[in-house]
């Protein structure tokens, strides 16, 4: 039978959820409302000369080829960050789970990068891959690769993907490891007795049982790729070269705060919000069905 908690006072439940509601209203609904309002007006930077322009800001965007380019880059970027990032973290978690000696040392080291803010990670990798003084680009030159993320768009994109994944791997790793460790040992042992090898045991037992964790991480990682990677882009490439790393969230910032085009920038953030809401709905509707809890 289901156990139900009941409150004797009527106001208590409201009081308990109030902090959460207040935070959501102040940090989500209010700014969202502002963004929607800003997206249908134009004004000069100082807030004067305000004009209601209906959907002009959106029409401008949808007629702008560079906006579609930014959408395309965001899709490629997010796909790479989410899939490659999750794959690497899962691999690392499986490895760490099997280790017996010095396990906690390995785990600590793998969790470490999470303490580095994305912007700092961007600067760090910027030094490592600097085309003229970077250690890594110097080594790459040794094997015949001329790595220059300042002029080469594809290399720049690869670099920001690497940095974004590097900053997020620890987080994914922790969840995967916890997920793996919560799988009952008896299941694995039973399979082993039945003659299943390590590969078979992983794909048929551990992987399906990990799917709730994997699903949760997929949602988190897609959101991370859309928004959390801002610091990496801002500190490393500023969207360049050309527009090779100009993902949507960076474009919002760039047009709004550097270009002082608040209307256009708000229109972009409204679209961005709709995209993320849709993505999350799709993930919950279709992918979640295939998840075993």
């Amino acid at each position: 039978m289901e156990k139900r908690v009941t409150f004797n006072e009527r106001w208590l439940p409201y009081l308990l959820v109030a902090p959460q509601i207040v935070i959501t209203v102040v940090f989500f609904f209010w700014p969202t409302g502002q963004a929607i309002f800003q997206s249908v007006i134009t004004e000069d930077a100082f807030g004067g000369n305000t004009k209601f322009v209906w959907f002009d800001n959106f029409t401008h965007l949808l007629n702008d080829s560079s906006y579609y380019e930014s959408v395309r880059i965001t899709v490629v970027f997010s796909f790479l960050v989410a899939t490659v990032g999750l794959a690497i973290s899962l691999l690392l978690a499986v490895m760490a789970d099997r280790i017996i000696r010095g396990a906690s040392a390995y785990k600590s080291i793998l969790v470490w990068p999470y303490a580095v803010a994305p912007a700092v990670a961007g600067v760090l990798f910027g030094f490592l891959f600097n085309p003229s003084v970077g250690t890594v680009s110097w080594m790459l030159k040794g094997v015949g690769i001329d790595f220059n993320y300042v002029t080469n768009g594809n290399q720049a994109l690869i670099l920001v993907v690497i940095v974004a994944i590097w900053s997020q791997v620890s987080y994914n790793f922790l969840f995967f490891l916890a997920g793996l460790q919560s799988i009952p040992k008896s299941l694995i042992e039973a399979a082993a007795i039945d003659g299943a090898g390590p590969g078979r045991r992983f794909w048929d037992i551990a992987f399906p049982l990990l799917s709730p964790t994997g699903f949760f991480l997929l949602v988190i990682n897609v959101n991370y790729a859309f928004f959390g990677t801002f610091g990496v882009i801002a500190s490393l490439t500023q969207g360049g070269p050309g527009q090779a790393t100009n993902i949507l969230v960076y474009k919002v910032y760039n047009d709004g705060f550097r270009g002082q085009d608040l209307g256009g920038s708000s229109a972009q953030s409204v679209i961005l919000m709709v995209i993320v809401i849709l993505l999350t709905i799709i993930q919950f509707k279709y992918i979640e069905r295939r998840v075993h809890y």
């Binding site: 004004e43 000069d44 000369n49 003229s132 300042v150 050309g242 047009d255 705060f257 550097r258 002082q260």
Partner: protein, 438 residues
């Protein structure tokens, strides 16, 4: 009860008036000068505060130019605006459009009855920030202009005369070839490519950047920088990049690292970078000269245009306080203060008197090349094409130009396709600006 209330109100009012009489009026000055430059700014404010008793200027460092501007905008909207904010030159058209937010400098001076002589200023410095009929909108503060730097050691190694800089772009190409042949990693790299290679290349050769006198005549303008000479010029650099005669080092000031690191032998950069480059390479190893030009485009160079920032006065403060602002602006543009600022930082002096004072003091003899910036700016009487640029949404347009130039350097596009596209995308942004500010 009411008597107590009344008397306490009176007491508070009295306290306030006593306080008001004793305290100086504080003038908030938000700026974007970090590090050494920030120290120089604080020293200026100190000097002013010690020179009189009525006003106290409080400089506040607000981060980069963009951050400073964003902070000032937010403060203005919250009715907490600073009196003075430092805004970079590309923000000029947007500031002008912000009617009701800006208190034009000529008016500040007139209202406060401060003496003010437009003729005292260096032409292109004054022109960039004044209306078409010559009224100054913001006070020039830190202005610079691109100059040519070369590494004398690398020149020597390549068999070139270390004391003769190339005068034309053809000579730059020849020198770059020799430098690469002698084992140099890079011949030439520019800083702030949109400013140096497109905007200043245009002014230097008297080519228009946009219609209506580069935007000075109105907001209904179109960009014009995809002309034959500039397409040829950018294509030439792209061809050079194949054998490292030209190397692209990134946006804004990033490429200077290639010069201070001894990879690139030649550089076009802000005159304000002089001290940093001299510090890295050694004062006697660096030469500063005028920018090269293309004689086939124009027989001799016109004049260069400035970059840097100016001080804008914002509305929304009690009237009396602007008297102090006017006094401070007068102080800032006085020859002694300007000469000191110019010598300390490498920025251009904004008045002719300050330039003369610096020359008379023998500063240029001990620091050869530091006078090049003023010489470039005053080379000829500025034309419509070399007075300056007044472009709306300029920050975004510069981003577009940066992006398209990067497409050239990476070989994705040729110069013509890239500049045509930059003009097309830029015109869209201009139309948007025009529509928003009608």
């Amino acid at each position: 009860m009411s008597r107590i209330l009344l008397s306490s109100v009176a007491a508070v009012a009295m306290l306030a008036s006593v306080h008001g009489a004793a305290a100086q009026t504080e003038i908030q000055w938000w700026h974007a000068m970090g590090g050494n430059l920030g120290d120089a700014v604080n020293a200026l404010a100190d000097q002013f505060n010690k020179s009189q008793k009525d006003y106290k200027v409080a400089p506040v460092y607000k981060g980069s130019y963009t951050e400073t501007l964003t902070a000032a905008i937010a403060a203005f909207r919250a009715k907490q605006a600073p009196h003075i904010v430092q805004v970079f030159e590309v923000g000029t058209a947007n500031m002008m459009a912000a009617k009701g937010a800006v208190y034009p400098v000529y008016q500040v001076m007139a209202d406060a009855k401060e003496p003010f002589d437009p003729k005292a200023f260096i032409g292109p410095v004054y022109g960039y920030y004044s209306t078409t009929d010559g009224k100054l909108l913001s006070m020039p503060f830190n202005s610079s202009t691109p100059v040519f730097y070369w590494n004398k050691e690398m020149f020597q190694k390549a068999g070139l005369d270390p004391n003769t800089p190339p005068k034309t772009w053809k000579e730059v190409g020849e020198a770059a070839a020799k430098i690469v042949a002698s084992g140099g990693k890079c011949g030439f790299t520019p800083q702030w490519q949109t400013w140096t290679m497109i905007e200043n290349y245009g002014a230097w050769h008297n080519l228009p950047y946009a219609t209506k006198a580069n935007g000075f005549g109105g907001t209904d303008i179109e960009l014009k920088f995809n002309d034959e000479p500039r397409i040829k010029f950018i294509q030439m650099l792209a061809d050079w990049s194949k054998d490292k005669r030209f190397v692209y080092g990134g946006r804004e000031g990033k490429s200077t690292a290639l010069v201070t690191g001894g990879e690139c032998a030649m550089h076009i950069a802000s005159s304000g970078s002089a001290s940093a480059i001299e510090k890295a390479l050694g004062k006697d190893k660096v030469g500063i000269a005028m920018m090269p030009y293309s004689p086939e485009v124009k027989a001799e160079p016109q004049n260069s245009i400035i970059g840097g920032a100016t001080l804008w006065v914002l509305q929304g403060r009690p009237k009396d306080e602007y008297k102090g602002v006017a006094k401070f602006l007068t102080f800032l543009s006085s020859p002694e203060v300007q000469a000191q600022w110019h010598q300390q930082t490498g920025y251009v002096p904004i008045t002719l008197a300050a330039a003369k004072l610096t020359e008379d003091s023998g500063f240029y003899k001990n620091n050869p090349g530091r006078d090049i910036a003023v010489k470039e700016l005053t080379l000829h009487e500025p034309t419509e094409n070399s007075k300056g640029l007044r472009i709306g949404n300029f920050v975004q347009i510069r981003d577009v130009v940066d992006e398209e130039l990067e497409n050239v350097w990476s070989g994705k596009k040729d110069a013509k396709a890239a500049l045509d596209e930059a003009v097309k995308r830029g015109n869209e942004l201009l139309k948007k600006f025009e529509a928003a500010n009608k």
